[in-house]
Amino acid sequence: MEFDNGTNGFQIQSNQSTEAPLKKRIRSGANARERDRTQSVNSAFDVLRAMIPIDPPNRKLSKIETLQLATKYISHLSQILTSGEDGEQEHSFYDVCIFCLTNRINS
């Protein structure tokens, strides 16, 4: 016959009245950390977004667009550095570098 719910006199964390608030605290702490983490990622996206030249300038790029355009922009800048600023030409009738185009539109 048990008098103490089988804990043998030791009551660690099994009391029903303290368990639920503890779990809630843990969850809300994890939620807050995840929120902060997501916010830092989003603000990094915003900074990256602001650095990419785009026409029209007020168009907000989605996350995947910023990633792709950042990749292409880094290629574009490297290409300018290695070949010189007057070196880039359109290579074919149908392919246009959008950053070259953006430069021309804006200048």
Binding site: A44, K60, S62, E65, T71, K72, Y73, F93
Partner: protein
């Protein structure tokens, strides 16, 4: 890039019909005789094969697929909903603007105009149950995340190697490194090659600090990392 063509299985009532959308962008500029760039987008896959520095960034492989949702405004007679009492899934309108070239773009100068023409194909979608709808929503989300992770990987390939060979940059790290690297490249372009020596000069107040420990590898004082070949072969012993 795939040719634009509607593809679907008309025989099955429950399948999802993919849409290929062709947009044509006309740019009329005095400097460019006629530059016509045809954007072919498919709802599932975009061109990821171009990731070396010699590739021209074209409109073809820059913008993501137009939408991960489906747009259709079918006439009532063509909608097939199976089963009585089945909850009707929401009808998707035009895709979210962030995936679409705005058709109201009119260029920014007196010498140019841009005209976009969107030709969506109508689609028929029917779900046998709410479960199928949720499953396709999960599939779409999974595809979206997979594409985003691939885009992250392509970005990582372009950045200088800054981690021990076995590890790769996390998302936030790769974003911050991309920001830093773009600023660096722009500064080189603006200030010339002398910029390099200016930023790597050690100020006198930190002259007597020990060099920073980096994953157990002690760089020689004054040395800066640039490429993976800078790491000696025994760097993995940690």
């Amino acid at each position: 890039m795939s040719e634009p063509s509607p593809s679907g299985n008309e025989g099955e009532t429950r399948s999802v019909i993919q849409e290929n959308v062709t947009r044509t962008v006309y740019v009329n500029k005095p400097l460019v005789d006629t530059a016509v760039s045809v954007i072919n987008t498919s709802s599932v896959h975009y061109d990821q094969s171009s990731s070396d520095s010699t590739t021209i960034c074209t409109l073809n492989n820059v913008l993501p697929p137009m939408s991960y949702d489906y747009q259709h405004h079918p006439p009532l007679t063509s909608v097939q909903i199976c089963g009585p009492g089945v909850p009707q899934p929401p009808v998707y309108g035009t895709p979210h603007d962030e995936h679409q070239y705005s058709p109201t773009v009119t260029g920014v100068g007196p010498n140019c105009y841009m005209q976009t023409e969107v030709k969506p194909n109508s689609r028929i979608r029917s779900y046998e149950s709410e479960r199928d709808y949720k499953k396709s929503a999960c599939d779409r989300e999974r595809t979206r995340m997979r594409d985003m992770n691939k885009a992250f990987d392509l970005l990582r390939n372009r950045l200088p190697k800054s981690k021990p060979p076995g590890k790769k940059l996390s998302k936030i790290e790769s974003l911050r490194m991309a920001i830093r690297y773009i600023r660096h490249l722009q500064a080189i372009l603006e200030y010339g090659p002398d910029y390099e020596t200016k930023i790597y000069t050690v100020p006198s107040c930190t002259q007597y600090l020990p060099p920073p420990t980096y994953y157990g590898y002690q760089p020689q004082y004054g040395q800066c990392w640039n490429v993976a070949s800078d790491y000696p072969p025994n760097v993995n012993q940690y």
